[in-house]
């Protein structure tokens, strides 16, 4: 049985800190996989563990890794009405990749947040996503050197 506790004390502490928190630079990208544009076909999406992930098929980050974003698969996101969409300043795929590169290289001084917006019926759904940090490719090394007599 899972026991879930609301961590009220931490919440209060975070609230106190939040008064001094820096402004967050938010970036919004409209991902429409039903579209046939070349940009929208550059994405691969799937579920891994408890995360839904979105990868841009471009080896643009450190170690040749692909920019990959994720959010908990049970996160339903927030509905954004079609009327509201034009009021959001969207960024291009190129700028999204560049921003991801800067974030993962720790080149940005301000906190950053990335949101993916996807079609949802007549409206849209918006998710705040995390960035999968680039990892150096690795193979285990499991040998012994046995000298024959």
């Amino acid at each position: 049985m899972k026991k879930i506790f609301l961590f009220l004390m931490l919440f209060s502490a975070v609230n106190a800190v939040a008064q001094k928190a820096a402004k967050v630079d938010s970036a919004y990208y409209l991902l429409d996989t039903t579209c046939n544009s070349s940009y929208d076909n550059m994405w691969e999406t799937g579920i891994e563990g408890n995360l839904k992930y979105y990868s841009i098929l471009c080896p643009c980050l450190a170690y040749g890794t692909k920019p990959t974003f994720a959010y908990p698969k049970n996160d339903e996101g927030r509905i954004l009405s079609a009327e509201k969409l034009p009021s959001i300043k969207l960024i291009s795929l190129v700028n999204l990749i560049e921003k991801t590169k800067l974030i993962t290289n720790k080149k940005l001084s301000k906190p950053n947040a990335i949101f993916l917006i996807e079609p949802f019926g007549k409206d849209y759904v918006i998710h705040k996503v995390g960035i999968v940090p680039p990892r150096k490719p690795y193979k285990s090394v499991d040998y012994e050197i046995i000298k024959q007599n």
Binding site: G46, A70, K128, V132, R135, Y138, I146
Partner: protein, 373 residues
């Protein structure tokens, strides 16, 4: 008692010790811990208007219980305003979830259950073996059906081993793929290197999947005991990678401020750029060796001695991989040597004899080549 290691832990909380970066006190290490999960995000939005001369400058702030700033009504205060967002400050609220080792899910979502008493909770570590487990072993089975039937499938029926592969057992990712390939197998051309297998983490998605490739020379020439030991060893690489991939994602996105010891430990290793093979083998020696030995003995129905199981599981553990410093090699060797002198002492000559007998084993000890389909 203090010993040389990598990070300092107190009750599962990690920190990088200053001045003595290789010192550790493991007395307080807990196998499980509370973690922040299922975090909900809020934003406090502050808007300003100063464009309407008939109205004074006006600020408007709201925390509306979501992470999206909605423009205020344009007629607040009786004037018509054009609002400009000047700040958005994020905040969050999380559930505290008891995460066992191994965890029962990936990052950012559901965690494990438990009683939260901070003590042992072995009930949470249990995992019911299910014949429908989706360990992808087709590639290995095609050429070595007895390796899958007699080794991998038999290991899956052992609780502690099943716990290690549990994250990979759904129809969805992460996957654990088994295959075979030719790898170095002794001789002067290989400088005496005998490699039993290789684990390669996936570079796709979150990176928590892995492929284990067993050496075809081992499958053809070695004892079933050594093949089983190698399979357990490579599975531990895959499991540790699973923990590392999720830990790095969670930590780099601020989803976790505390962590179960394995998550925290491994992410610490990687964040500080320590060689992965070194940290993997260190974790195996310090935290998983006894469990691996008991799995091997249970798989073998105690047909060999405890010393032989320990020697089989020691294979390759003192190998830190490439790119390690002398001090890191010394640290790993010290941990490895500690295992040699624990209980029934294992001498280097014992190891050489054992490996000699099991790498190129007698026919009766090898995997059969028929009767496994």
């Amino acid at each position: 008692m203090e010993k040389f290691a990598i990070a300092l832990y107190t009750n599962g909380v990690r920190y990088a010790p200053s001045g003595a970066k290789l010192q550790i006190n493991t007395n307080g290490v807990k196998p499980s811990a509370w973690e922040e999960q299922n975090c909900r995000y809020y934003v406090t939005c502050t808007w300003i208007t100063e464009q309407n001369p008939s109205c004074s400058n006006t600020y408007y702030s709201s925390t509306d219980g979501n992470e999206w700033c909605y423009e205020p009504e344009s007629t607040i205060g009786g004037c018509y305003y054009y609002w400009r967002l000047v700040s958005s400050v994020f905040d969050r609220e999380c559930d505290m979830i008891w995460v066992p080792d191994p965890p029962d899910g990936g990052g950012g979502g559901d965690g494990g259950g438990g009683n939260g008493d901070g003590g042992s909770n072995t009930d949470d570590l249990t995992f019911e073996f299910d014949e429908t487990l989706k360990i992808r072993e087709d590639s290995l089975r095609k050429y070595y059906p007895c390796a899958t039937k007699l080794v991998i499938d038999s290991l899956l029926k052992i609780q502690d081993y099943a716990n290690l592969v549990q994250p990979f057992t759904t129809d969805l990712k992460p996957d654990l793929v088994w295959e075979s390939s030719a790898q170095p197998w002794g001789g002067s051309g290989n400088n005496g290197i005998y490699e039993l297998g290789v684990t390669t983490p996936s570079t796709l998605g979150i990176g928590s999947s892995a492929t284990i490739s067993l050496n075809t020379f081992m499958l053809q020439n070695s004892s079933q005991l050594l093949i089983a030991a190698a399979s357990i060893h490579e599975t531990m690489h895959a499991y540790i990678n699973f923990g590392v991939a999720n830990a790095e994602y969670n930590q780099s996105n601020g989803f976790m401020t505390t962590g179960s010891w394995l998550y925290g430990l491994d992410s610490w290793y990687n964040i500080h750029g320590l060689p992965t093979n070194f940290s993997n083998h260190y974790v195996m020696i310090d935290f998983y060796f006894d469990k691996a030995v008991s799995v091997l003995a249970e798989w073998d129905h105690n047909g060999h001695s405890l010393k032989e199981y320990r020697m089989a599981m020691l294979y390759g553990l003192n190998n830190p991989g490439t790119g390690v410093s002398t001090s890191q090699q010394n640290i790993l060797t010290a941990e490895y040597n500690r295992l040699l002198t624990r209980g029934d002492t294992i001498k280097i000559t014992d190891l050489n004899t054992f490996y000699g007998n099991h790498l190129n084993a007698a026919q009766t000890a090898k995997l059969p080549t028929t009767g496994c389909n």
